[in-house]
Amino acid sequence: MLRIENLCVDYGLRRVLHDVSLNVQSGEVVALIGPNGAGKSTLIRTVSGVVPARSGHVHTNGDDFRSLTHIQRARYLAVVPQAVSLPPAFTVWETVLLGRTPYLGFLGQPSQADEDLARRALERVHALEFAERRVGELSGGEAQRVLLARALCQSTPILLLDEPTAHLDLQYQVSLLQLVYELAHHDHLAVLVALHDLNLAAHYADRVALLVGGRIKAIGAPREVLTSELISDAYCLPVQVVEHPLSGGPLVLPG
């Protein structure tokens, strides 16, 4: 569904992404892991069209993203950003409805159908009960759910998430990723999610891509990528990988 081919990105004279290639199929979650500064956010921003690529392509269904308008692109691909500095005076409802932007007319007046979609998106993330609250009053976990609802409102086949669990308590991390997993496996979205936590990545992703220094070092099933050699090398830290007592998946421990 989402095909990233030989993507190179420069910040000024510095190359931050080298020849990155990555596919995400409909119905799967691909976790993007790697140390700080590896280029996870840059990759997401480039794929979403915010940062221009130096070379390479992003395709979906044969459409090259570069030939699409902003609105067309926003119908293919939605992004869940980190919930930092949201404009506090907007209500949750107003925020989520903005997800309908690529389908609205010039004045941005939503129809009844748009409002129904927004309501369903809020239900999906269990946020309907605080729809009238202002986003400035929300906790980190609530704000992140609202942003996910806004992305769902875009009705796109592709969903990108940039470290959606950063700054969240464990129970919110788990419930958010559980929802993301369902979106891929029940709603058949193609999901690419940048994650800090290797064990959450191992648990919820179908495949894991390890990004180090702007290059893809490894890509595959969690147990193929989350090995003590690859992770120790990428993070410059000795780690042990043991088996999860319940799921049998890999569990990364420092030491």
Partner: protein
């Protein structure tokens, strides 16, 4: 969109208009006003209304509308609660442009009058871009940077303006009173010359509410939601500067209307710019009409420049907003 806020502000606008028409050196009662409006009253009342009060009231209302609308747009564009055409230097820049145009000896004609707002507009746009690039840090425009750059550029433009005025005579020297923000340059011609700028500028801004809503979430998110951010920002900056320039060219530099009005509207009616922009336009007209009435009566029979009234009310308000945003504000 609920009709109630619009009903309330339109009601207030009506009251402010009546107040502005009635109060002055000669008080016109509502009955006298009504007769004069229909062209049936006594001669003096008719003259006062049609030649003095009405053009002045219309000019003040249009100026206030321009300042309120462009203030709301600048706040949204810079994502900064303290952006105001006066505080970010755009008004002073436009004033400089207008004075430069005045010091050229235009033939006193309709086109000469049109040249002044055009020069003000060009200068206003230049100011926006200069202040924006001075204040910008990466993708954001920090409040302090914006105000500092605005103040610095503003004093630069003001001193150049004073210099131009001092070395000139007659016509331009009279502009001094005008620059302080008194709607003394009244008359129907000014209104006719101003209107096209306002219709274009405020019209574009009124239609830009949704884009401004998106921009409140930052450039990245706005673009990911489907907005052509670069184009939208450019169009809105031009529109806001057009409105500011028209206001300055015909009514002088009047501060704080563009700061106070959008804030009050946001507090009362919420942050949605599709509503906030038209409300700030109407609210700006109300606020400046009331300020102008105060300027007329406070030292009657003498008038004080309306810019003094707005600054006296606005500066404390500015400090209050500053405090509020410091303590993780509402904005």
């Amino acid at each position: 969109m609920k009709p109630t806020p619009f009903f309330l502000v339109l009601l207030a606008l009506g009251l402010a208009l009546i107040l502005s028409l009635a109060i002055g050196s000669v008080f016109l009662s509502p009955v006298e006003l009504w007769d004069a409006l229909r062209g049936q009253g006594i001669q003096t009342a008719m003259q006062i209304l049609w030649d003095i009060r009405l053009p002045r009231t219309v000019l003040v209302a249009l100026t206030g509308a321009a300042l309120g609308g462009s203030g709301a747009a600048y706040q949204g564009l810079f994502r900064n609660p303290l952006a105001d055409p006066f505080l970010i230097g755009v008004a002073s820049g436009a004033g400089l442009g207008a004075v430069i145009a005045m010091s050229v000896k235009w033939p006193y004609s309709f086109w000469g009058l049109m040249a002044i707002p055009m020069a003000a507009f060009v200068a206003a746009l230049l100011t926006v871009f200069i202040v924006y690039f001075l204040a910008r840090v990466g993708q954001t425009v920090p409040t302090t940077n914006l105000i500092l750059a605005g103040v610095a550029f503003s004093s630069f433009a003001t001193s150049l303006t004073s210099f131009l005025m001092l070395r000139s005579t007659g016509e331009v020297r009279r502009a001094l009173g005008w620059l302080l923000g008194g709607a003394s340059q009244s008359g129907w011609t000014a209104i006719i010359a101003m209107t096209p700028y306002l219709i274009i500028g405020l019209g574009i801004l009124t239609l830009s509410g949704h884009a401004l809503n998106l921009l409140q979430f930052g450039d990245d998110q706005a673009q990911q939601l489907g907005l052509n951010v670069g184009r939208a920002k450019t169009v809105m900056l031009i529109a806001a500067s057009l409105a500011t320039a028209a206001a300055v060219a015909f009514s002088g530099i009047i501060g704080f209307i563009g700061l106070i009005v959008p804030h009050v509207m946001r507090l009362w009616f919420g942050a949605d710019y599709r509503r906030l922009l038209p409300l700030s336009i109407i609210g700006g007209a109300i606020a400046l009409l009331v300020s102008d009435v105060i300027a007329r009566v406070v030292l009657a029979p003498q008038e004080i420049p309306v810019g003094i009234v707005t600054a006296l009310a606005g500066a404390p308000f500015f400090l209050w907003v500053l405090r509020r945003t410091k303590n993780q504000g509402f904005w």
